[in-house]
């Protein structure tokens, strides 16, 4: 965006003229600031997202390209030319005339070699005097899309995704239903110790879960639940502080008149909750569902702990960490697997952006 500088007459300026010019100056300053801030933001966001670009480029490289510190940024590999059923590498060959031609080496020799022109193989072999080992190989842009296929099958992406979805969806259902019920209790009923109990609920946000893990693990082990999803899913049927808080905030904004109308029609608290409150709170319920979905997608510690010994059913985070432990010499496959893992959550986020952002704002700002 550029603006031509206005001509400045040397003549004495009338007051109207100065006014006009001041306005121009202000406008120019505004455009300059806008351009500067936007450009700065653009540079910042490029730096911020740089690892994604790196991941993408690395995922498309071959094994040699990944480990070579001097390899070009883009995925390249040595060009080859197939001639009479065999693959021959292509080199940049300086010809006696001074020009440099890209030729495929078909018969290497110590002092002289035979090449062929990939662009015109019919012209026959070209004899070249000199040591071919001093020649530079020609490298061309050659993304290895096959890395994604290899990563997909090696980590068993479908199975990992299926288990992660199973875990996320069952716990979304469990926590949203139970948290909504509890939130309604805190939002609409007066009872002794309500404030203290709500404070206790909020305090569980601050408590480190580690302090409960040893006995829980011992009991789950006794019950034969270790190595299954039960210890991961069952506790979600008992509400969660963040979700209760968010839903309660939303329920408080629903006008009481709606419930009173239902009560006059003879509906009890359960009917009122199911028929009046839940339909009114769909946006908040959606936001909580999305939050929990992403939480479950990222959950690492508890699946690692409780599913130990049953590697076939781990969710994607744990699966990726196992994979990176085994394939640490093949970063291109790790990058491809990581990119595969981020596609689905990012796509869901992009689709549900608005609901999501509103939800974050409610949790943070209303404290």
């Amino acid at each position: 965006m550029s603006v031509a500088a206005p001509e400045r007459p040397e003549a004495a300026q009338t007051p109207a003229r100065t006014h006009e010019e001041a306005r121009m100056r202000r406008r120019r300053k505004r455009i300059l600031w806008g351009g500067g801030v936007t450009l700065g933001a653009f540079l910042l966001v490029s730096l911020f997202l740089m690892p994604l670009g790196y991941g993408m480029v690395t995922a498309l490289k071959d094994k040699d390209g990944v480990s070579d510190p001097n390899s070009p940024i883009l995925p390249v590999s040595a060009e080859v030319f197939e001639y009479e059923g065999e693959e021959h590498e292509v080199y940049a060959v300086p010809m006696p005339g001074g020009e440099v031609r890209e030729l495929a080496l078909i018969e290497p020799g110590r002092e002289s070699s035979v090449f062929i022109d990939p662009g015109d193989p019919g012209a026959g072999p070209i004899e070249w005097e000199g040591r071919w080992r001093t020649l530079d190989p020609v490298r061309g842009f050659n993304p290895q899309w096959g890395n994604f296929a290899e990563a997909w099958s090696t980590i068993d992406f479908v199975r990992l995704t299926a288990w992660t979805l199973f875990y996320a969806l069952t716990t979304v259902f469990a926590t949203v239903v139970s948290s909504a019920i509890v939130a309604y209790g805190f939002a609409r009923f007066r009872f002794p110790f309500r404030k203290a109990l709500f404070g206790l609920l909020m305090a569980t946000i601050l408590l480190p879960p580690a302090v409960t893990l040893v006995p829980k693990y011992a009991v789950f082990l006794q019950m034969g639940w270790i190595g299954t999803y039960l210890p991961l899913i069952v506790p979600h049927f008992f509400a969660n502080a963040f979700n209760v808080f968010l839903l309660r905030q939303y329920f408080l904004t629903i006008p009481k008149e709606l419930e009173e109308a239902a009560r006059i029609d003879g509906a009890g608290p359960i009917r009122t909750f199911a028929r009046v409150i839940v339909p009114q709170a769909i946006p908040a319920l959606t936001a909580v569902s999305l939050f929990h979905f992403f939480y479950a997608w990222n959950d690492f510690f508890e699946p690692l702990l409780y599913l130990a010994g049953n590697r076939d059913i781990v969710p994607i985070g744990v699966g990726l960490s196992y994979f990176s432990g085994v394939y640490n010499t093949e970063p291109h496959l790790i990058m491809a697997a990581s990119l595969l893992a981020l596609v689905l959550p990012v796509a869901i986020f992009l689709a549900a952006q608005r609901v999501f952002v509103q939800g974050i704002v409610v949790t943070g700002v209303d404290k």
């Binding site: 740089m50 009872f191 569980t204 006995p215 990581s338 959550p345 700002v365």
Partner: protein
């Protein structure tokens, strides 16, 4: 507005008759209230209260996961062991060091990005907001693995970018992010900054909630950008910042996934990745020392409680709540 509601609340409290027996209707309401919150009460007892107390009991036992039959009461010896285990103090130190480094850094970055997104000069706010938030949506382990490669001293882009400034970053004398106990905390910080989106959005919403009249009044009084930030924005944003601070510090006290994915329980480099939870997990679930693990878990709980108490204790000196004006 909030002064008014507070005054009304005070007045109402004063008028309330002291302790009269609840009417049948009130009792009915209370019963329904308890019925609705029952799932949480049961869950709290089953998954918080009882396990917490049981943990305390476990911490007095010698209980090995591999040999539960041989469990015996050992009194305070798990606690004595925890206090004399150099790894306990090392992990506390690493966790606190990382807190001191990363917490202010993430708060400042989250605030800076929110100010940028709230700037009247910025074009394409929606676009930038989306892109700055996007990495928060990337599954944590995937993000860690991507950063692990980006921070590779030889082939990673970060060292190459640093190299452009003329600093020797790659090669033999290069910056080895994962082999130095101080640098590794910076590596964790880079990974952590990718998750700054939530705090940024909360800040942004807080900024948008500040009445513009305040800025106009400050501008009329001749306050520049910096002064407006210090006297209007920061005080009014302090409750939001406090929320981010508390949540941030609680999360760091439970820091586990990043060191675990990168280094397992090895503590590499030189104990630099042995955070409190790594130490606990290793003892309790890798070595199977459940009794000792329970003592460590309670130690972590006490550390978190102390830290939270300090944070809430300082809040009244700098957190500005509208109703106190």
């Amino acid at each position: 507005m909030s002064d008014l509601t507070a005054a009304v609340r005070r007045a109402r409290r004063g008028k309330r008759p002291p302790k009269r027996p609840a009417s049948p209707m009130e009792r009915r309401e209370a019963r329904w209230g308890y019925a609705f919150i029952a799932p949480w009460i049961i869950g709290f007892a089953l998954f918080w209260l009882i396990p917490m107390l049981a943990s305390l009991v476990f911490s007095t036992l010698d209980f090995q996961l591999t040999d539960p039959e041989a469990t015996s009461f050992v009194g305070m010896s798990n606690w004595e062991r925890a206090m004399s285990d150099p790894h306990t103090w090392q992990s506390l130190l690493v966790t606190l060091r990382f807190t001191v480094l990363f917490l202010p850094l993430s708060l400042v970055v989250a605030l800076g990005l929110a100010l940028l997104l709230n700037s009247a000069h910025l074009r394409g706010v929606g676009f930038f907001r989306l892109l700055f938030y996007a990495p928060s949506m990337i599954p944590l382990v995937a993000g860690i693995l991507i950063w692990q490669q980006v921070l590779n001293p030889q082939t990673g882009w970060l060292n190459k970018i640093i190299g452009l400034t003329g600093v020797q970053a790659t090669g033999a004398g290069g910056i080895r992010w994962f082999d130095n106990p101080v640098l590794v905390l910076f590596a964790f910080s880079f990974i952590g900054l990718w998750g700054v989106g939530n705090a940024m959005m909360i800040n942004l919403a807080g900024l948008q909630g500040i009445p513009t009249q305040l800025y106009e009044a400050a501008a009329i009084d001749g306050a520049g950008w910096w002064r407006r930030l210090r006297t209007v924005t920061l005080p009014l944003l302090s409750p939001v910042m406090f929320y981010n601070l508390v949540i941030g510090s609680v999360l760091i006290m439970q820091y586990f996934v990043q060191p675990w994915v990168l280094f397992g329980a090895t503590g590499h480099p030189e104990g630099g990745s042995r955070f409190l939870l790594i130490h606990f997990y290793q003892q309790a679930f890798v070595f199977g020392n459940m009794g000792y693990g329970a003592a460590l878990a309670w130690f972590i709980f006490l550390v978190v409680a102390a830290l939270t108490a300090v944070l809430f204790g300082t809040a009244r000196f700098w957190v500005h709540y509208g109703s106190e004006r």
